[in-house]
Amino acid sequence: MVEQDIVVSNKLGLHARASAKLVQLTSGFQSNAFLLCRGREINAKSIMGLMLLAAGKGTLIRVRMDGSDEAAAMAAVIDLFERKFDEGE
């Protein structure tokens, strides 16, 4: 299991399209993927969970990956956050 903290930095936070990109990404890995935020833990392969997390810009999130490809999955997720979900803002 690996964990890493990251701050949501894209302008609109985890909105529908950003959540969709995250689900599409995590679903491509075998590892279980979770986001922990404000005492809640949600499945990062669930778009409803992600949207209901209501993680706006500036929210601190802990990403947890658990599985055979956890390192690669973590790197990909962190990269997506750092690229601000390719929203170009």
Binding site: L14, H15, R17, A20, V23, I47, A55, E89
Partner: protein, 572 residues
């Protein structure tokens, strides 16, 4: 009783129709409980409704095309993910099993729980994602209520004016196909995706009409004057007489315009300008032919390579190119080779590694030359299509003479190969170069000698010259084609091409925006390529321009020092 309402214009136009009032999330459930034996059937019914909805979303996104479609498709994809989300679907199935609810009742309860969770969110933008949930739930609901029947594809919306709180853009696209006459939204804004889409459909839409939902009823006659952001409910005889005379006036203008369509585009002083169309797919080609385009100035082939797992075969590409060529009759079709980079291909079949800076990375011709098998497949498919009409091939993202030479030599070996296997094709397939990188501008004299034609990609060229990403809201003021540096860049290319007698066209937003038409005419451009929907507007603008006097002002455009002086020159 007659009443008048005021909102703001979201998309202009005049129309008359019967109201169809749609309340958000008006979900009728089957309230009785089911017995144990009926449970498997009910869960099956729910699964089937999910499937139907998936297919609907799929076919919806397939019907969309053009630049706006990319945003819409992302939203539709997010909606499709909700359908696949166990957090959403398992809850419904559990409710059917444990509480013996009908699928509709279970769906409604699951939706209410999730909606309440959304309503508790503080961030107003993220709270509004409840709409996305509702859009999906409503579709599943409709599928459940139809009970496995085919979705109603008849023109149910025909002649109707939709009265709603707000409307998802994809929904508008669908209703437009069904013959909707207009939209009255109590919320929403002229900047919403739906409003932008309505403008591209030329569908009248008024938004921000507060209170209308409670006062307008199904079947009420509505006279929508979207140009003035107003509407009249239950108009009287005087209103209707006025409407009919306004409508006649519009029809007269339309008729005049459609007569012009048959003719060529000309400036007021009689100079012929050729208007070409940009196309993405079969649908835009049809639009182009209908709008009287002189040719397809740019056929983008990226769609063949996106949102799929495997690369398109030569045969598949050939069929697409051939159909485009056949649709245009004897008019040329300019097929652009693959113009993708790392920003558009992540997760696609091309397996390009992610890049720090995709705009300056492996894209366009650079990618094609590196994947020569892929490139040759595309060139062969294009060459084969040339047997069915006039084909031109266009290379994107060229920055060096060597790239054109390499592409030409590959093209020639493909031709030799096809000839050897007696595959029919044309002997004349011109090879052109996109001018969209500053390096290409600086060597345009040399490029003009080895290219058969030029096409300026003004969007990318402006972005590279001005060092500003046009999709980046933070620098949107820096991305302004009315910059002296960009105007002078355009002139360098026009001038180089004219000296070398190399045909040149421009395809990019400014080609289809009548605001820039006087400027481009002043700089000497005679070939414009644009979205088919823009052809009419540019043709109308041309008819008001005096080319001779604009050409005389070319120097002043080139010496303008800032935006203000450029604007002043364009105005008079």
């Amino acid at each position: 009783m007659r009443s008048q309402w005021q909102g703001s214009k979201a998309s202009g136009g005049l129309s008359l129709g019967r109201a169809r009032v749609v309340y958000s999330a008006n979900l009728e459930i089957e309230a009785d409980l089911i017995d144990d034996a009926a449970i498997p059937n009910e869960t099956k019914r729910f699964e089937a409704a999910l499937n139907t909805t998936r297919q609907e979303l799929q076919s919806l996104s397939e019907r969309l095309s053009g630049a706006l479609a990319r945003d819409l498709v992302e939203i539709i994809e997010a909606h499709a993910l909700i359908l696949d989300d166990p957090d959403f679907t398992d809850g419904v199935v559990a409710l059917i099993r444990a509480e013996h609810l009908h699928a509709t009742a279970a769906l409604k309860r699951q939706r209410d729980q999730l909606a309440a969770a959304f309503d508790a969110i503080e961030d107003p933008y993220l709270r509004a994602r409840r709409d996305d949930l509702d859009h999906v739930v409503q579709r599943v609901f409709a599928a459940l209520q139809r009970g496995g029947a085919e979705p109603d594809r008849r023109v149910r919306a025909d002649g109707e004016i939709l009265v709603c709180e707000s409307l998802p853009p994809a929904e508008l696209a669908q209703l437009q196909y069904q013959g909707l006459h207009g939209v009255v939204a109590t919320a929403s804004s002229p900047y919403s995706h739906t409003a932008i889409l309505a403008r591209s459909f030329r569908m009248p839409m008024v938004c921000g009409v507060k209170g209308a939902l409670a006062q307008i009823h199904d079947g009420d006659l509505i006279l929508l004057d979207a140009d003035h952001g107003s509407l009249i409910v239950q108009p009287d005889a005087i209103d209707l007489t006025r409407f009919r005379s306004q409508q006649k006036e519009i029809e007269r203008t339309e008729r005049r315009r459609s007569r012009q369509k048959a003719g060529v585009a000309k400036t007021r002083d009689g100079y012929v300008i050729r208007l070409h169309a940009n196309a993405d797919d079969a649908e835009t080609i049809v639009l182009a032919a209908r709008a009287g385009a002189d040719s397809i100035g740019l056929f983008r082939t990226e769609f063949l390579f996106m949102r799929r797992r495997e690369l398109p075969s030569e045969e598949e590409q050939f069929r697409v190119y051939r159909d485009a060529v056949i649709s245009m009759g004897n008019k040329p079709v300019t097929l652009r080779t693959l113009d993708l980079g790392a920003d558009k291909t992540v997760g696609g079949p091309l397996e390009i590694s992610q890049e720090e800076n995709p705009a300056l990375g492996l894209r366009g011709i650079r990618l094609s030359l590196q994947r020569s098998a892929l490139f040759a497949t595309q060139l062969r498919a294009m060459l084969r299509a040339s047997a069915f009409g006039s084909v031109r091939i266009l290379l994107p993202m060229v920055s060096a003479v060597e790239e054109v030479r390499a592409a030409r030599s590959l093209l020639e070996s493909c031709m030799a190969e096809l000839r050897a296997s007696k595959v029919p094709m044309s002997d004349q397939v011109p090879l052109g170069v996109m001018i969209e990188v500053p390096a290409a501008v600086m060597i345009c004299n040399e490029l003009a000698r080895i290219a058969d034609f030029f096409a300026i990609g003004s969007n990318d060229l402006a972005q590279y010259v001005l060092a500003a990403d046009r999709n980046n809201a933070a620098v949107v003021n820096h991305y302004d084609p009315l910059h002296p540096a960009f105007i002078r860049t355009l002139f360098l290319v026009f001038d180089g091409a004219h000296r070398a007698r190399c045909p040149i066209s421009i395809c990019g937003e400014i080609a289809g925006d009548p605001l820039y038409t006087p400027l481009l005419i002043a700089l000497g451009l005679t070939d414009f390529s644009m979205h088919p929907n823009s052809i009419r507007d540019v043709r109308d603008m041309l008819a008001t321009l005096n080319r001779k006097s604009l050409r005389a002002k070319a120097k002043r455009f080139l010496h303008a020092a800032d935006r203000e002086s450029l604007c002043a020159l364009m105005e008079n």
